[in-house]
């Protein structure tokens, strides 16, 4: 069930992240600025705007311990934002520091490492920039992971050991790299992904049987399992020393996922609803959707189906009927506004693709709530244990 639904904007939300204490929220409203909202009672009120990028911001991450924000944008830059006291007014303001990414295409995704001493920026330049702070020169420097990436990198995720990095890319591969930086990292302990890990070691390369861009990757809380979702409408769970599970779903592809426990994850995407998967090394399956699409939502009246139950039937109702009526009976949606607009509404809470899902409450391995944002401009918080039923 959706615990909270907030409509933040009438524009798509490209990325969202909460502050460490969940009292603030940073989003990219499909624009060049980061909009920070503060919680006031039940409302989210816009408080600050971080402007420095001159193209669309594609990804934002907020470091939970050091309270720094990093943003990546299509202008090929990344900025690290730190809250400092303004010498004149004494107020806290966000101050940007430019990062030398050395990429010649858009930055697509950014994530802080668990220790927050590095971050990874995925890009369209067939490279991932691993950035670390150079104390001597007082700036962020980057080192590029290039081989063997053949296309745009769409998502990155850090292993809990602060060294390994998973990346999903448009060349249909999910890969695990070593992002070991001599000056920053201690030698990592051996894991299931390998023992000798110099920079740019490839610890694994995976693809879905039917191919498709890898939209999202994430390590399990222990870091021993990797999950990725690709554009062939499937979720893949990789045990590096054991089996690889490929779960094909009957609806549209997922574009984002997050682990809630070592044996469970939530994925969402073009189907507009978050779906829970659970399993172990013995096998994985879909448990059900967090969104109750079967019932009629209060006060909204009957709506045409977009849920799992009426996969084809809906083609003949909803939007189709609207156009057919307009064509054969000359009935426009304007004259019968009430029924027609209700007909084109989806049964799900989100009315368009969910682009980002993140843990909201709990700690890694025991997440109890997740937050989602999407193209419909909504922010929704879900209880991950309230699975609404089978699909």
């Amino acid at each position: 069930m959706a615990l909270e639904v907030h409509t933040l904007a009438q524009t798509p939300i490209t990325a969202h992240v909460f502050s460490p204490d969940r009292s603030q929220l940073a989003v990219s409203l499909n624009s060049n600025d980061v909009q920070i909202y503060s919680r006031q009672g039940q409302e989210w009120v816009p408080t600050e705007t971080l402007s420095e990028h001159d193209k669309l911001i594609t990804s934002i991450d907020w470091a939970p311990h050091s309270n720094r924000i990093v943003t990546a944008s299509q202008d090929r830059n990344a900025y690290v934002w730190q809250e400092v006291q303004d010498p004149e007014t004494g107020k806290l303001v966000w101050k940007p520091t430019l990062v030398l990414l050395r990429i010649n295409r858009a930055a697509t995704h950014v994530r802080w490492s668990p220790k927050e001493d590095k971050f990874a920026v995925a890009s369209g330049a067939r490279a991932i920039a691993i950035c670390s702070f150079d104390e001597e020169n007082n700036w962020w420097v980057s080192k590029l992971l290039k081989k063997p990436i053949r296309s745009t990198v769409l998502s990155v995720d850090w292993h809990p050991n602060n060294v390994l990095l998973a990346a999903g890319s448009a060349d249909m591969r999910a890969r695990v790299f070593s992002a070991y930086i001599k000056e920053v990292d201690e030698r990592p302990a051996a894991s299931v992904w390998g023992s000798k890990l110099p920079f740019n070691t490839i610890c694994g390369e995976y693809t879905s049987p039917a191919g498709g861009w890898v939209h999202t990757v994430e390590f399990s809380p222990s870091g021993d399992v990797l999950a990725f979702a690709s554009h062939d409408s499937s979720v893949n769970i990789v045990y590096p020393t054991g089996p690889v599970f490929n779960i094909r779903i009957s609806s549209l592809p997922f574009v984002t996922l997050t682990w809630t426990a070592e044996n469970s994850l939530v994925a969402a995407g073009h189907d507009c609803q978050p779906v829970v998967f659970s399993g172990s090394e013995a096998g994985w399956q879909s448990v059900g959707s967090l969104d109750d699409t079967t019932g009629v939502k209060a006060a909204d009246g009957p709506r045409a189906g977009y849920g799992g139950n009426t996969s084809v039937g809906r083609l003949k109702t909803g939007a189709f009927a609207t156009f057919r009526d307009a064509d054969t009976r000359g009935k426009s949606s304007l004259s019968g506004a009430g029924s027609a607009s209700a007909d084109t509404k989806l049964l799900t809470v989100h009315q368009n693709t969910i682009t980002s899902i993140r843990p909201y409450q709990g700690h890694p391995g025991q997440v109890s709530m997740v937050s989602t944002t999407g193209v419909d401009g909504k922010l929704v918080i879900w209880d991950v244990n309230a699975v609404a039923g089978g699909r």
Binding site: R126, R150, S151, D171, M172, A210, G211, G212, S230, H231, D232, S233, S234, R248, I249, S250, S251, L252, P253, G308, S311, V312
Partner: protein, 156 residues
């Protein structure tokens, strides 16, 4: 204005260009063997159809379907054999037949339905038969099946 330069294949000058062969794992079988397999399956399907075993015939033809380059003849034989099966199946039996197929076979069947619909002049099959199968298959395997057909580079 001279626009000929727009037609230049600039990819040939790019050393890092992504080749078709890198997009999917090639069929390990030899093209000649694939052709041989396709012919054998054609015969097996005829026997199965004579026993009116539609499920058996469909599973046979959809398993290890030829894909990739250099196997055009095998692809053609497979398509024609498949179309025979689709044509001879009663429309009331279709849902039960599709339900008994494996997920792999359902995905492959969808690929052939789209291939059939893309044929100039629809091959030797009427559009309504393909659309009938398409409707039933989408009901059972969902829109995900169509997405996989569009995504998969292992073209049949």
């Amino acid at each position: 204005m001279d626009t000929a330069f727009r037609k230049i294949d600039i990819d040939q000058y790019d050393e890092d260009v992504l080749h078709e062969s890198e997009l999917y794992d090639a069929d390990p079988r030899d093209p000649a063997q694939v052709l041989e397999d396709a012919k054998q399956r054609q015969a097996a399907v005829r026997t199965a159809l004579a026993r009116s075993d539609v499920v058996g015939a469909l599973s046979t033809i959809l398993e290890n379907a030829p894909y990739g380059p250099n196997v055009d003849q095998a692809k053609e034989i497979t398509l024609h054999t498949l179309l025979t099966i689709l044509n001879t199946t009663k429309s009331t039996e279709i849902p039960a037949v599709i339900k008994s197929l494996s997920q792999d076979s359902q995905d492959t069947l969808m690929k052939y339905l789209y291939k059939g619909m893309a044929m100039p002049g629809w091959g030797d099959i009427s559009g309504s038969v393909l659309l009938g199968w398409h409707e039933k298959l989408t009901e059972i395997a969902g829109t995900g099946c169509i997405v996989r057909t569009m995504t998969d580079r292992r073209l049949v």
